[in-house]
Amino acid sequence: MLNDNEKVTLAHGAGGKKTSELIHDIFQKHLGNRYFTADDAAVLELDSRHIAVTTDGFIVSPWQFPGGNIGELCICGTVNDLSCMGARPKYLTCAFQIEEGTPLRDLELIASSMAETAAAAGVHIVAGDTKVAGKGQVDHCFITTTGIGELQPGLCPSGSRAAAGDAVIVTGDVGRHGCAILLARGDYGIDAAVTSDAAPLWSIVEPLTKIAAPEDLHTMRDATRGGVGTVLYEIAGESGVGIELNSAAIPVDPAVRGTCDMLGLEPLYLACEGRLVIFTPAERADEVLAVIRQTEQGRGAARIGTVVSDHPGKVTINTVLGTQTILPAPGGELLPRIC
C-alpha cells in the first residue's frame, strides 16, 4: 500500500517490485479498463478503416493551476487534436517521465484527473510507460500522450481549406489557460480569479458531424500554445487567405482582459486548452454557432471575423475606433512554457 508521504525514487523506475507497486497502486487503480494490459501491447478494436493518430508532450509549470492540472491537460490536448480532424477519440497511450522526489500523492492526483477527463472525453487509456529521472533532470512530471481516433464520414476539415467568405468562429472566450498559468506562477504579484479553460472538445465536434453539410466545416483547429492569434496566422498562411477580425466580437473574460492590460499582453496570443477555431461559409455560420452554443463547452461561442481574399497571409483587426490595424504576427516572445 502507498504511504501518504512517500516520494518517487529511482527504484520506482528500475522495473522491479517498486515499479509494479507504482503501476498497480496508482496507474492501474485509476486508469485501468478492459483494454489496459500487463502485456507488451494493447489489443484494440476499431469500427472505421480510417483512423487519425496524434502525439503530444506536456511539460506545464506549475503542474497544477486554477481549473486543472497536467493530468487533465495531457488528455485534453490529444483528444482535441483528434477532434479537430473530425476523428472520434477512442484510445490513448501515456508515457510518464517523473522527477525523483515527486510525492506519490501528486501522481495519484494526476492519474485521477486523467481518468476523470478520459471518461468525460469517452476515450480509453490503453497502454503506458513510466520512467523516473534523477532530481532536476525533469521538472516534477512530464507526460506524453498518443491518441487514436476514428474518422467520421462526411467531415474533412483541413488548415488549407479556409476560403474567402468563410466566417471565423471561436467556441468560447480566449486566452484563459495562458492567463491562469501566468497568474499561478505568481511572477507578477497579480491576484485575479482566472481558471483554465482546459476541456475535451469532442462534445462540440460530435454534434457538428450531424449538421446538414458537415463538409462545409472547412477548418477546425484547437488553439493551444500560441493562442487563437497563432492559429489564425497558421490558417491564413496554409490557405493563402486574409482574415479580418472584429475586435468588439472577440470574447475575453474581464479578468483576463484586466490582466492583459496590466502586463501589455494580447489575449489572442495567450494559450487556450478548450477552444476550437472553426471556419465555415458565412451562410452556414448561424447554424454552426447554434449547434456549438447548445453544448456545455461551447456556450460562449462567437463569430469573430471573416476570411477575405485581400492581404493573404495577414490577419487584420477592425478596431473600436472604426480603423483597421494588423494583428502583430506571432513573435518569439520569451513567454515561459505553459502547456
Binding site: D261, G264, T319, V320, L321, G322, T323, T325, I326, G332
Partner: protein, 355 residues
C-alpha cells in the same frame, strides 16, 4: 463600452477628424501610449493637419549603449566581479557596442530575468555566494520599486546586492523637446507618481500638454482637448486622466525616491547628456551602487552608426526613413533599441505594418 462612453468617444472622434487649420504636432512620451495608438489604428483617423510624434517614452529605448557595455563588463570582464545580472527581459536584447546581454549569456554570463526589482533582491538573498547586480532602468514609474528592492536588501542585510542605475526623469526631456511639438500627451503612469505640478509649471514656460489615459476613449478625449486648445494660442494643461492621476501624485512613492536617489546629469540615447535628467543613488548608499562598488572603468559606448534611433526618439525622422528599418533591423534581429523594446517606436511601426 457603455452608451455614454460610446457617445463621448464619437464626439471626440468627430472633433479630431473634422479639424482643419494650422498644423498641430502632438508628441506622446510614453511607450504604452505609442503601442496603444498603433493597436487602435488611431493615426488613421488624423486629418493631414494633425501629426502624432512618438517621443522618448520608452525606458529601454533611451538607455545609452554605454550602460549595456557597463552591464557586460560587470558580467564578463576578467578584472570585474563576474556578477549575476538581474534585469527586465526587454533589456537583454538591446545591443551594446559589440554584444548584448543575450549574446553574453552564450559566452557564460549569468543573466537572470526578473519581473520586478524585488525579485532581484530576493534572488540576492537566496544566493549569498553570488554577486548580484540589478539593472535599474526606467522613469518615475519604476524607480520606486528599485528603491523598494534596495530597502528589502538592506532589511535582509544583503551585502551582495547592488544597482546599476540608468533611471531617468521626464521634466528635462519635456523642456528639451518643447520645440518639436505643440503639445504633449503626458504619460498617465508617470503622472500618477509625480502628480500634476510639473506640467502645470511647464505652462508658465509656454509648454502645453494633457495627461492621457490608455483606453480608446481616454486617448481620443485627450487628443480632442489638444485640438480644441492649441488654436486658441494660450499655453494650457488639462488632466484628462483624473481617475488615476491626482494633483499630488503619490507622495509615498516620491518620498521613497527622494530617500535613496538624487538627480544627476544623464545620457539619453540620441538626445545626449541632459542636466539633472537622471537619478542615481545618494552617497549614503554607495555600497549598493555598482559603479562605485566595483569601480567600473569609463566606457564609451557606440551604437551602430547607421541606426537612426536617436533621431526617431526626437521625432526628427520616422522608422521607415532609417536605412536599417525592416531590412537588417527587424523584430527578430533588432539593431536599434527602438526595435528591441515592445514599447519602442520602430517595433510598433514594424509590427503594425504602417510602413
Amino acid at each position: 463600452m457603455t452608451p455614454e462612453q460610446k457617445e463621448k468617444l464619437q464626439k471626440a472622434k468627430d472633433l479630431i477628424t473634422s479639424y482643419r487649420g494650422p498644423r498641430i504636432r502632438i508628441m506622446e512620451v510614453c511607450g504604452t501610449h505609442t503601442h496603444e495608438i498603433f493597436r487602435l489604428g488611431l493615426r488613421q483617423l488624423l486629418p493631414p493637419d494633425i501629426t502624432l510624434i512618438s517621443g522618448p517614452g520608452c525606458p529601454v529605448c533611451v538607455t545609452p549603449t554605454t550602460f549595456i557595455d557597463e552591464a557586460l563588463w560587470l558580467a564578463l570582464a576578467a578584472d570585474g566581479p563576474r556578477a549575476t545580472i538581474c534585469t527586465f527581459g526587454d533589456l537583454i536584447r538591446v545591443p551594446g557596442t559589440t554584444a548584448s546581454l543575450a549574446t553574453a549569456r552564450a559566452e557564460g554570463a549569468k543573466i537572470q530575468i526578473v519581473y520586478t526589482p524585488l525579485d532581484a533582491a530576493e534572488y540576492a538573498h537566496a544566493h549569498p555566494e553570488e554577486t548580484v547586480v540589478f539593472l535599474s532602468v526606467g522613469f518615475e514609474t519604476t524607480v520606486p520599486s528599485s528603491c523598494l528592492a534596495l530597502q528589502r536588501a538592506q532589511e535582509y542585510g544583503c551585502t551582495n546586492f547592488t544597482l546599476l542605475t540608468a533611471n531617468k526623469v521626464m521634466p528635462p526631456a519635456y523642456r528639451a523637446m518643447a520645440s518639436s511639438c505643440d503639445a504633449y500627451l503626458y504619460p498617465g503612469h508617470v503622472c500618477a507618481i509625480t502628480g500634476t505640478s510639473i506640467p502645470e509649471q511647464l505652462v508658465h514656460d509656454g509648454i502645453s500638454g494633457v495627461v492621457a489615459g490608455f483606453t480608446a476613449a481616454e486617448l481620443l478625449t485627450a487628443i480632442a482637448v489638444i485640438v480644441k486648445r492649441v488654436p486658441l494660442g494660450q499655453p494650457f494643461f488639462v488632466n484628462c486622466y483624473p481617475r488615476v492621476v491626482k494633483p499630488a501624485g503619490s507622495p509615498k512613492a516620491m518620498a521613497l525616491i527622494d530617500k535613496y536617489m538624487q538627480p544627476v546629469d544623464a545620457e539619453w540615447r540620441g538626445l545626449g547628456i541632459m542636466p539633472a535628467s537622471g537619478l542615481a543613488l545618494r552617497p549614503d548608499y554607495a555600497a549598493f551602487d555598482a559603479r562605485k562598488r566595483f569601480r567600473i572603468p569609463p566606457l564609451d559606448g557606440h551604437p551602430n552608426p547607421a541606426c537612426r534611433c536617436g533621431e526617431i526618439l526626437q521625432g526628427r525622422c520616422t522608422p521607415p526613413e532609417c536605412p536599417l528599418f525592416g531590412k537588417t533591423c527587424t523584430i527578430e534581429h533588432p539593431i536599434g533599441a527602438c526595435m528591441v523594446s515592445r514599447e519602442g517606436t520602430c517595433s510598433a511601426f514594424y509590427q503594425y505594418g504602417n510602413y
